[in-house]
């Protein structure tokens, strides 16, 4: 074999440094974050995430351009509304990229290779979850930042208020990222076939927003606005919007928002529950896969 080459210096043992758990988890996080944008994989894996990323930036860039010319303040899209307005693009990103992180390594049985190494089950799941959430955060926060910076450069009025609303929207983005990662990863982890995974995530998004929309419509026609507001808890984008409106002082984008401070607190609790539940379910799923 390689004995035929003159330069073969034989096998050398490794006695260099072996880094600990923090390094492994960080590497795992970076690996998954890169995978979410198709980096380190063939060109066709990069098409979808970067195309969607560009789609996300387009309205923000247009909005800033129009404002720069017209100085019409209404031309700037509201920071806290941006994510809800472009929710279809974001949902498609979750649908196409969550299976990359959650089901690719299940489908190809790579998972046992991690657990036969010094990688803990919970560390593995947390790294994946964090990577998906950060990938989503980058997708959503970049256009909003573009809006803010663009507004600043073209001298939008009341910079102090702008900054406050921008920061509030960023917090909203973090929450959006966590909730969407939680839902997307769990659904994808239980549909190992890639096409099914994409379809399943889209289905969960479409069904939840459609049903909630129907219920809200019916409730409002009977002037039961409280019910319409509470129904919003069951659609992911509406859920986070409730938190934005009730706890972060944003203006409402969704059709209905659960009433009062308690509406916001309940919505935040639902978000926390979703995230914790998702991590617990993913932990069990990958632990089982590690033994097969």
């Amino acid at each position: 074999m390689s004995m035929s080459t003159i330069h073969d210096i034989g096998y050398r043992h490794y006695d260099g440094k072996r880094l600990g758990r923090a390094y492994t988890v960080r590497s795992l996080f970076v690996h998954n974050l890169r995978a979410a944008y198709g980096i380190g994989r063939p060109a066709r894996a990069k098409v979808m995430p970067f195309l969607l990323g560009a789609l996300m930036l387009l309205p923000a860039a247009g909005s800033v351009a129009i404002f720069a010319f017209s100085k019409e303040e209404s031309a700037l899209i509201r920071y806290s509304s941006y994510t809800s307005i472009l929710q279809v693009v974001i949902a498609i990103f979750v649908a196409t990229q969550a299976p990359v992180l959650a089901s690719r390594e299940l489908r190809f049985h790579v998972v046992p290779l991690y657990f036969s190494r010094p990688v803990g089950h919970l560390d593995f799941v947390l790294a994946k979850f964090a990577a998906m959430a950060v990938a989503l955060l980058a997708l959503m926060a970049t256009p909003i930042t573009l809006l803010y910076v663009g507004g600043l450069v073209s001298k939008a009025p009341d910079p102090a208020d702008q900054l406050l609303r921008f920061l509030g929207a960023l917090v909203g983005c973090v929450l959006f990222a966590l909730v969407l990662a939680a839902i997307g990863l769990v659904v994808a982890a239980f549909t190992p076939r890639r096409g099914f995974g994409v379809a399943a995530v889209i289905a969960v998004y479409m069904l939840s927003s459609t049903f909630v929309g129907i219920i809200q419509g019916l409730a409002e026609s009977q002037t039961n606005f409280a019910l319409a507001g509470w129904a919003g808890l069951f659609a992911p984008f509406n859920l986070v919007d409730i938190v934005q409106v009730r706890l972060l002082g944003a203006k409402s984008t969704s059709v209905s928002i659960a009433p009062g401070l308690q509406g916001g607190v309940v919505a935040l609790a639902v978000c926390a529950l979703l995230v914790a539940g998702s991590i617990a379910v993913l932990y069990r799923r990958f632990r089982k896969a590690g033994l097969s």
């Binding site: 074999m1 880094l19 390094y23 590497s27 190809f108 657990f115 010094p118």
Partner: protein, 328 residues
């Protein structure tokens, strides 16, 4: 210190007992783990990796207890599963570097070790292409490379020759032998084929239905026997008859004659017989025992099986063992 030691290891699943009171201990070197499919080989490896807690019994790997020190064991061992475990859309380099980092190797070291290891297993330019386009033989090499990249003290290779053609099988076996000798890494290699393991292993452990059938150094299985294999081009029967008439104990087996060595003069009789009958002598060699024979003679084994548990011996070696009576 034994690299692997088990004490009454038992693993019961709801419907089957995969391991049944297995007590075995093996030293540094290349160790074969042999058994039919479903004999408990893969289960044993998972338990030794500390991934699956046994129903009963204890075990230690590299002197570390599997129940308490699972993490420290996994830092020092490598594992090559028997099934496909490679993502198709990344290159071998990218994948092996990632797996090296998962063992705690810093980025630069991970890249260097990955390149070295892939070269050692025989992957060169193709390592930059996505794994999806690899042949089975190349995939097996990548699987082996990821098990070796962090320079473990011990590697578990689960059925590494599965699915390979004869040439690929030979190369894989040579590689395993090199890992044990040249690299100085202990190897536990499982297979359901006894014949291929006797070529590369120092020690063979045979399990059957989760029980230990035998654990022994290969030298003890394959010591020189007291018989001679003779192959002639034509006229096997004439030679046999002549030797028989001279009082030599001889029997046909396949294309060969198997002759009991009574003393120095047995060789002379064969030589003279061949010369006087004008036959062409192709081969005359002293027979060695094959590990497979343990199945036929081991009192612990089931009564003589009609289907031999081992495979036919590889071509170029003496035929299957006499005891099974497969000769004509």
């Amino acid at each position: 210190m034994p690299i692997i030691a088990t004490q009454g290891l038992t693993m019961r699943f709801p419907r089957v007992t995969a391991l049944d009171d297995l007590t075995v201990s093996v030293e540094h070197g290349v160790v074969g783990l042999v058994g039919a499919n479903g004999a408990g080989k893969s289960t044993l490896i998972k338990i030794l990796l500390g991934l699956l807690p046994p129903s009963a019994g204890t075990a230690s790997v590299l002197g570390l207890d599997i129940a308490r020190d699972g993490l420290r064991i996994r830092e020092q061992v490598g594992f090559m599963p028997e099934y496909e475990c490679l993502p198709p859309d990344v290159s071998a380099t990218e994948f092996v570097v990632h797996m090296a980092r998962m063992c705690g190797l810093p980025p630069t070291a991970a890249r260097e070790r990955a390149a070295d290891t892939l070269r050692h297993v025989g992957l060169y330019e193709e390592r930059y292409r996505p794994i999806g386009g690899y042949s089975t033989g190349m995939r097996q090499r990548v699987k082996l490379a990821q098990a070796l990249v962090h320079d473990p003290k011990l590697v578990f290779l689960d059925e590494p020759t599965n699915g390979l053609d004869p040439a690929g099988r030979d190369e894989m076996l040579d590689l395993i032998r090199r890992i044990g000798t040249e690299f100085g890494i202990s190897v536990l290699v499982s297979s359901h084929l006894l014949g291929e393991l006797e070529r590369v292993c120092d020690h063979v452990v045979i399990v059957d239905a989760g029980r230990l059938l035998r654990s022994q150094a290969v030298a003890a299985y394959t010591e020189v026997s007291g018989s001679l294999t003779v192959e002639v081009d034509e006229g096997r029967d004439e030679l046999g008859r002549r030797l028989y008439d001279e009082g030599v104990v001889v029997r046909p087996e396949g294309r060969f004659l198997i002759i009991d060595i009574a003393g120095e003069d047995t060789y002379d009789r064969v030589r003279d017989g061949v010369a006087e009958l004008g036959l062409r002598l192709i081969r005359m060699e002293q027979r060695r025992h094959h590990i497979e024979e343990v199945f036929a003679v081991d009192p612990a084994a089931d009564p003589p099986p009609s289907v031999p548990p081992g495979p036919p011996a590889p071509p170029g070696q003496a035929g299957p063992s006499v005891e099974r009576g497969t000769g004509r």
